[in-house]
């Protein structure tokens, strides 16, 4: 499973980071990015799905 954050859609709610700090990072302006290339380590898929399902801007998506 691989995920990404759309930088044009992210508004810095930081819900993804709050739910899965292993998978996301946030910068000083609130913008979220995925850790590494967005590949979700085994066992963290549920957290990734939770992050996708809770982003108020629909900015987190599964890419493959």
């Amino acid at each position: 499973m691989r995920i990404r954050v759309d930088p044009d859609t992210c508004q810095g709610h930081a819900r993804c980071y709050g739910l899965a700090p292993e998978l996301f990072d946030v910068d000083d302006y609130g913008l979220s990015t995925v850790v590494g290339d967005g590949t979700v380590p085994a066992g963290l898929e549920d957290k990734a799905r939770l992050a996708i399902a809770n982003c108020p801007e629909f900015a987190v998506e599964e890419i493959d």
Binding site: Q11, G12, A14, L19, V26, Y29, G30, N54, C55, P56
Partner: protein
């Protein structure tokens, strides 16, 4: 404040300041979503009230037709919303791009996730100190003695202004938000805030500090210093937006826990339940309604909106929309799907959301650690403020077996 005329039709004559709406807006929204999802009123000024998640989010994202130049949900009886000295209003909240964009960038690093961690120890000791003050008494006003006291002091420290003035700050903020319908109180609050920050800015010319206000004064944008009226507006915004909102969220959460023994026991017994629970409490008791002003005649959701009309950004109602949230009117502390918009949606997402979350979490953690068992006092008269920000103003609770000393 005068009591408004009773509302005869919520569809065509709504009033967010009516006692009914302040006490229990939830049943009104539930009904409007069925009968008239975007209600209208001509009270004070032609205004629209959306109640569905989809409409509120669409409105928030259409910044071309729905401007943030007028954000008060209570039109000021024809008076202009801006103080003359604040030529730019309260940017970035009352601005559209491009002013919005660069003023927001000045502010965001002060409220980043990383920066907010620095404020946590101070917030925690403040909560401990407040609880020490009443824990031995067996009763407290959880709104006035606790919730109200926390955010104002944290924000004062970030701004670098004296926290001893917190009651004064709270008074001004209530004047401009809660009592905006009363021209004298509103003026009193606005002038108090502006005069205070004018003096603080002058003081910093000779005594710069390591604080947000000093930082704003010494920032450069495109090689130019930031105009003083912008600095004043941003500083006033930080105080206004950082006080009433989080205080209301803390108060509403404690009100909920005082009334729900199961949720209280769950949160007091399992700290790991807190992250999801916080989001659920924010969803169910979202304090803040904003406003937009229509820039040109437009039909939205079948409604003929005219340039100059107000649209209330009803984030609290969006968060109770059953089309998006299963069992929307029930608080489910471990709710998994919770795309709530308590902090807004789009480019105006609350710049202080990381701070608000930290304050709410720490306030609840410290309260529950010392006072895990509490309930509303017998015959307690809980009072609520509403309009722009909804939350309890009086919340008398009693507790037994509280931990008077630190464990």
């Amino acid at each position: 404040m005068t009591t408004p005329e009773p509302v005869v039709s919520w569809e065509t004559d709504f009033d967010v300041l009516s006692p009914e709406y302040v006490a229990d807006p939830f049943v009104i929204w539930d009904r409007l979503r069925t009968t008239c999802p975007v209600a209208h009123t001509d009270r004070r000024r032609s205004s629209w009230l959306p109640t569905t998640y989809a409409d509120v989010v669409d409105l928030a994202h259409d910044i071309e037709h729905f401007s943030s130049l007028e954000i008060s949900v209570i039109p000021f009886n024809g008076a202009p919303e801006r103080e003359p000295v604040l030529a730019y209003g309260l940017p970035p909240i009352s601005a559209d791009p491009p002013l919005h964009t660069w003023t927001r960038r000045l502010l965001l690093p002060w409220f980043s996730h990383r920066k907010v961690q620095e404020y946590e120890p101070m917030t925690r000791s403040l909560c401990v100190e407040l609880i020490d003050g009443f824990v031995g008494l067996g009763s407290a006003d959880a709104a006035r003695d606790y919730a109200q006291q926390i955010p104002v002091r944290v924000i004062a420290s970030i701004l670098g202004v004296p926290s001893e003035l917190s009651d004064t700050f709270t008074g001004w903020v209530r004047d401009v938000l809660e009592f905006a319908d009363d021209p004298e109180r509103r003026r009193h609050g606005a002038e108090g805030l502006v005069d205070f920050f004018v003096a603080e800015v002058a003081r910093r010319a000779s005594e710069p500090g390591d604080d947000l206000l000093s930082d704003l004064l010494h920032s450069e944008v495109d090689g130019h210093p930031v105009e003083e009226s912008v600095v004043l507006g941003v500083a006033a915004l930080v105080l206004i937006a950082g006080v009433d909102t989080t205080w209301s969220a803390i108060g509403s959460s404690l009100w909920h826990l005082a009334n729900h023994a199961g949720d209280r026991a769950l949160l007091a017994g399992d700290p790991e339940a807190m992250p999801l629970a916080l989001e659920e409490l924010l969803r169910a008791y979202s304090p803040v309604t904003m406003a937009r002003v229509v820039t040109e005649d437009i039909e939205f959701a079948g409604c003929p909106m005219k340039a100059g009309d107000k649209v209330l950004m009803n984030f609290p109602a969006a968060n109770r929309d059953p089309a998006v949230f299963e069992d929307a009117d029930r608080v489910v502390l471990d709710r998994q799907l919770n795309r709530h918009v308590a902090f807004g949606s789009g480019i105006h997402r609350c710049a202080g959301s990381n701070l608000a979350r930290m304050e709410l979490r720490v306030a609840l953690e410290e309260w529950l650690r010392r006072i895990p068992e509490f309930r509303l006092a017998d015959g307690a008269e809980v009072t609520w403020a509403g309009g722009q920000v909804r939350g309890p103003r009086r919340l008398p609770v009693v507790f037994e077996g509280a931990r008077t000393g630190l464990p």
